[in-house]
Subunit: 215 residues, 2 copies
Amino acid sequence: MKVEAPKKRVKPKVGAKAQSAPAPTDDRNRREGVLRAAARLFRDQGFDGTTIRQIAGASNMQSGSPFYHFKDKQEILATVMEEGLSAGWARIEAVMERDLPLRDKFQALVRAHLETMHGTDSDFVPVLQHDFRRLEATRRRKLKALGDKYDRAWQEMVDDLHAAGLLKRGGRTARLWVMGAINYSAQWYRADHDRGLDLDGLARDFVGFFLEGGK
Amino acid sequence: MKVEAPKKRVKPKVGAKAQSAPAPTDDRNRREGVLRAAARLFRDQGFDGTTIRQIAGASNMQSGSPFYHFKDKQEILATVMEEGLSAGWARIEAVMERDLPLRDKFQALVRAHLETMHGTDSDFVPVLQHDFRRLEATRRRKLKALGDKYDRAWQEMVDDLHAAGLLKRGGRTARLWVMGAINYSAQWYRADHDRGLDLDGLARDFVGFFLEGGK
DNA sequence: CCTACCGATCGGTAGG
DNA sequence: CCTACCGATCGGTAGG
């Protein structure tokens, strides 16, 4: 029941269909392709609203083929979330380690998170917000641990801002209002729709709205 | 194709099962029961993650019976959203018509919206956030019109606050940051979990965090 | 990774 | 509103 079948690469048939020959690292690329396609579809239609056949189709595969790369649909969802969250955390961590004036650091943090939310191939945040609860309990706990690191970093920032007199309040709800405002942008911000408001502009607007003083 | 079958009340069988006799207004009550059950299930599992059989079961019906009250699953979803949004709008409108000091009015507006989001039998806001896009285009447009009224009321409030020097900025993004922060509470606020922080306290905390001056 | 397929489940309907 | 049911679709698998 817990035995992992050793998945071995089957050598592709030659000839037959005159398609461009698969590269050596093809397997990994195909797997990534599945993840990207799945992330986009989950974002647009939700986990339950997306079928394996759609994911396969968007990855130029036949309906059963995603299961060559993933055990089941749940594993695709979990992987989308884990890889996305890890990439996002790396951005946050990088900012937290920088030595910047507090206000600039906050803006960099906001900008980093906006990049994670709205950047290219970053469809996973809406998926996370939307379908976190569809994950099996075990996977959910694992992701939660990553999410807690996120929260701690933001809490530290919010409390520092408050201590420096830049933010009206600190504490849990202050963090939640701040992060909520940013996260909710998943519902309304579209780079191609909000012309003239790119991610830099959005971060600046946000910081200007929340922090005391400044312009 | 567009013909509405005239649904007539079938008189319930008497005797047989010795259950409490159905009241005269039973149909409407049953219909409401379906809506409440569906709203709760949609909130917890999403539209696509919820089956008609679950809705029926939670309403003490057999699997095909919800279709006695609703044409199809989409109509259940749309009705949940429409009734919820209408009830929410009524609360907003009532506050906007009151003659209050601006700060108090804002707090009342926030409180009203929190009531809509977290009050008893108000499961529809998460559903709306979550599954708005699963609605058919026609129904979506209809709901959008209602949502626009919502947005206009909040925009007016935000701009008034800005004009009065109580809010750092006005305009579209200011409204979106404010509303986003509130709406995101759907993801974290639970009355039974956040002990000591009821909806009044939450509204006060919110206003205190966002408005200039005050305590 | 494809072909062919299966069992389960789902939304919905007829007929009372 | 129940009973009995259908066609479609879905996640997943065997076997190559």
